[in-house]
């Protein structure tokens, strides 16, 4: 009995983890290539870009804000970085520029949402569209190719021991830092506090606007970091670069909100969510399912996750004993 209970306790609020494990088992049984080292490292490389984006989105969503512009911001930073490296500017300077540019991008969103009090959804739809427009304008809608020093691809394509991608190590480091920041640091507690009740936050001396602004800047930094990896990996800039990550990352936040802290977007959940979504995406490809099914699956996952959260929330209203 005691054993059963403790197992149940461990499984509680970790439904997603179990699904992830079951899926891995399913895909590895049905596809020979799924568990191959080349495929694993391919999946890991993809996750490093989308995963870092997911960390950033989770931060602003914990605050009660939102962002739709990150994917096109990533595309723009990728393009600018590659153009200037092609023109002979030092790679590392341009990587630093990408990160600073990301922070500026986050600040721009924050000015609209926090200072000008625009609805986050509306404001970032606008910045998203604008940004994509800039990309088309700069390179006429074509894919940009250029000349790059060989070492530039180390971050995006390099591996350690032949199968652990360097980009994954960057992602894991970022994930650990952001996880500790959100869940264990005082700043992180403030982010959750502002998301939980911004008015009450003011009464305990938390400057809600500053916290929200900082979260957008942190998200920007993470977008910049993902742009570093992406440009180093692609060394080309299609006009649609970054688009493919948008729905995966948004879905990861909602999926993540079903675990650990049910009903709340949280870092651990988002990390798990992005893994799960990427595994599904990759697994479907390995099974030979046409690529567009991924969109249907993502849509269904968002619907399922949000339905799960709202059902769980109404059920756990708990005893309102007066």
């Amino acid at each position: 009995m005691v054993n059963n209970n403790s197992i149940l306790k461990i499984l509680k609020n970790r439904e997603l983890l179990i699904v992830a494990i079951l899926l891995v088992i399913f895909f590895s049984l049905t596809s020979d290539r799924f568990m191959s080292t080349s495929n694993i490292s391919n999946v890991l490389m993809n996750i490093s870009v989308s995963g870092i984006l997911a960390l950033g989105l989770a931060l602003v969503m914990i605050n009660g804000d939102f962002d739709l512009s990150f994917a096109s911001a990533l595309g723009l930073l990728n393009l600018i970085t590659l153009i200037f490296v092609d023109k002979g500017i030092n790679v590392w300077i341009m990587f630093a520029f990408a990160i600073v540019g990301g922070i500026l991008w986050g600040s721009f969103n924050a000015i609209l949402v926090v200072r000008l009090r625009m609805h986050a959804f509306v404001a970032t739809i606008a910045t998203w569209t604008m940004c994509r427009g800039f990309i088309y304008w700069i390179n006429g809608g074509k894919t940009f190719y250029g000349d790059y020093p060989d070492f530039m691809t180390v971050i995006g394509r390099g591996t350690i021991l032949g199968f652990i991608p360097i980009s994954s190590i960057i992602f894991i480091a970022a994930a650990i830092i952001i996880f500790l920041l959100a869940n264990r640091s005082k700043f992180g507690r403030y982010i959750y506090a502002v998301g939980s009740n911004p008015d009450a936050a003011e009464y305990v001396g938390i400057n809600s606007n500053r916290i929200r602004f900082t979260s957008y800047m942190l998200q920007g930094l993470l977008i910049g970091l993902s742009a570093v990896i992406l440009s180093s990996k692609l060394t080309s800039a299609p006009a649609t670069a970054g688009d493919g990550f948008q729905m995966t990352v948004i879905a990861s936040a909602f999926l993540g909100a079903t675990v650990f802290k049910p009903g709340l977007v949280n870092i651990g959940g988002s990390i798990l969510g992005i893994f799960l979504l990427s595994i599904i995406e990759n697994g479907l490809i390995m099974l030979g399912v046409p690529f567009y099914f991924k969109f249907i699956v993502q849509g269904l996952i968002i619907i399922g996750a949000v339905a799960f959260i709202s059902l769980k929330n109404t059920r756990s209203e708990g005893p309102a004993i007066v």
């Binding site: 640091s185 005082k186 009740n197 008015d199 009450a200 708990g318 309102a320 004993i321 007066v322």
Partner: protein
């Protein structure tokens, strides 16, 4: 005396939420045509009981008999259809819609494909004529522009539009000013007499219950403790049944000395405040009293740095503060417990422990990463001090009753030694036991030379607690009453 017909009764009702037994083996009888009061401390199980009767909760065991039939509702809609309507404590209205649209929300009249609002208006007018209490209620005015009393009336009209047999009201007057409360009580008596609607009336305000009920049932720890009929109404007896002890000393002794001035506010001017000057001393409870909207909340929130001051300065000792802001005032030892705990106090997604530690994370915990066990330890210590009832310090704050949520917020501000504690109407909607705990804590602070600024919406409470009172009217201080001058007459003279 002919016995009345029993319209509804329960037998051996049980309902638990996890480890909390909200309702225990409960038997009650509701007689047709009664106005039955239901009283008890927070957490006594009153809300759970009415939610069971109204189909919002299912029972673990036991029977409900309604009009001689055993029933088990599947939803609140079903209970409503069969004749049981609940008016909740916090009106559940759509704030951008008007009275008529709210009343007929979910049962709109239609004209082909479209909603027939004209019919809804007409039906609402009919309802208002039928129950003539708020004849001049503007039914097109959006709910968010209505007074608390008007909202309550809309909520009641909404319930009445279902023509219920039993109308259940959960603390309908909790947020109403006095005049609106009286109107509402008159309405309920009238409804009961003219329409023969059975009413179950939950309230913490015993005087109100005495005024309109013909019997009062007391609940404690989920059990039915007993019923008093109107000829036996007696406050002391009732309170004793509720808290299982005498109320010999309801308010603690006042302080005998007051020390040096801790904080001085001089010539404060803002949108609402007009040249307000006050001071608060060591070891005293300074009361602020006035009618709703007279500016007490604005005054303390201006001092606390939450509101913009056009003119004026604040002095603490030798320190002059021109532009206060919350973070700075907290560092100076000035803490504030706001009036509306749901809107301004609680972090609903946080645990009890996280709610207690949130205000002092940076000053109390030096580590870069928080250590949960250390945090919990600090929270538990303060939880004990305020006599907080909880199952687990890491449980969600939402699971606590209203009184205990408020105590958790008080505990939040005890975590660090304060200089001045500002409490804005801290006992609204909480039970007698919790009230006494809060009074005791405040007195405990003054005995250790802290200064308290105390705002209350209840004149008896301010008389019972304050050592000195400033009365306010339309943003101005109208009088300063010393301990010997504090009485009802002096206060009323200066606030009206």
């Amino acid at each position: 005396m002919a016995t009345k017909e029993i319209i509804m009764s329960t037998k051996g009702l049980n309902k638990s939420f996890g480890a909390t037994h909200a309702v225990v083996n409960l038997n009650i009888n509701i007689e047709k045509g009664d106005i039955m009061g239901l009283v008890g401390e927070n957490g006594a199980g009153k809300s759970t009981l009415i939610k069971i009767l109204g189909g919002e909760h299912t029972v673990d065991s036991g029977q409900i008999i309604f009009q001689n039939k055993k029933i088990s509702w599947h939803s609140s809609a079903e209970a409503l259809k069969k004749g049981i309507a609940i008016v909740h404590q916090h009106p559940l209205l759509v704030s951008s819609l008007g009275a008529a649209e709210n009343i007929f929300l979910g049962k709109e009249f239609s004209q082909g494909f479209f909603v027939d609002n004209i019919k809804a208006f007409e039906e609402t007018k009919k309802l208002i004529q039928q129950y003539p209490i708020y004849k001049d209620l503007d039914i097109e005015k959006p709910v968010n522009e209505m007074s608390a009393g008007e909202k309550e009336v809309v909520e009641i009209l909404k319930a009445l539009s279902y023509e219920p047999e039993i109308l259940i009201l959960d603390e309908p007057t909790a947020s109403l000013p006095k005049d609106e409360t009286e109107t509402l009580l008159k309405l309920l008596t009238e409804l009961n007499k003219k329409r023969n609607i059975t009413i179950i009336y939950i309230s913490h305000k015993l005087e109100e219950a005495f005024e309109i009920c013909n019997k009062i049932t007391v609940m404690r720890n989920g059990k039915n403790i007993g019923t008093l009929t109107s000829e036996n109404f007696n406050k002391d007896k009732l309170v004793k049944m509720m808290i299982n002890q005498d109320i010999s000393e309801f308010y603690p002794d006042k302080s005998t000395k007051s020390g040096k001035i801790l904080l001085e506010a001089n010539h404060l001017n803002s949108k609402i405040l007009r040249d307000v000057s006050i001071n608060v001393r060591e070891g005293e409870i300074l009361g602020l009293y006035g009618l709703m909207g007279a500016g007490m909340t604005e005054l303390v929130e201006s001092i606390y740095g939450l509101r913009h001051l056009q003119k004026g300065e604040i002095k603490m000792g030798n320190k002059r503060i021109e532009k206060p802001h919350v973070d700075m005032m907290i560092r100076n030892g000035v803490f504030l417990i706001p009036a509306d705990r749901h809107q301004f106090g609680l972090f609903p997604s946080f645990t009890v422990s996280e709610n207690i530690t949130i205000a002092h994370l940076f000053s109390l915990f030096q580590e870069f990463l928080l250590i949960r066990s250390k945090e919990n330890q600090a929270a538990i210590k303060q939880a004990k001090r305020v006599n907080l009832k909880y199952a687990d310090i890491n449980q969600s704050i939402k699971e606590l009753s209203g009184g205990n949520q408020q105590k958790a917020i008080v505990a939040r501000w005890l975590l660090k030694e304060c200089g001045i504690l500002i409490v804005d109407d801290p006992t609204v909607g909480i039970d007698i036991g919790a009230k006494r705990d809060i009074y005791r804590i405040l007195r405990d602070l003054t005995s250790r030379n802290k200064g308290i600024i105390f705002i209350s919406s209840e004149i008896n409470e301010i008389i019972g607690m304050a050592d000195r009172i400033y009365t306010m009217r339309r943003g101005k201080i109208t009088a300063e009453l010393s301990k010997t001058e504090i009485n009802q007459e002096n206060i009323l003279k200066n606030i009206l």
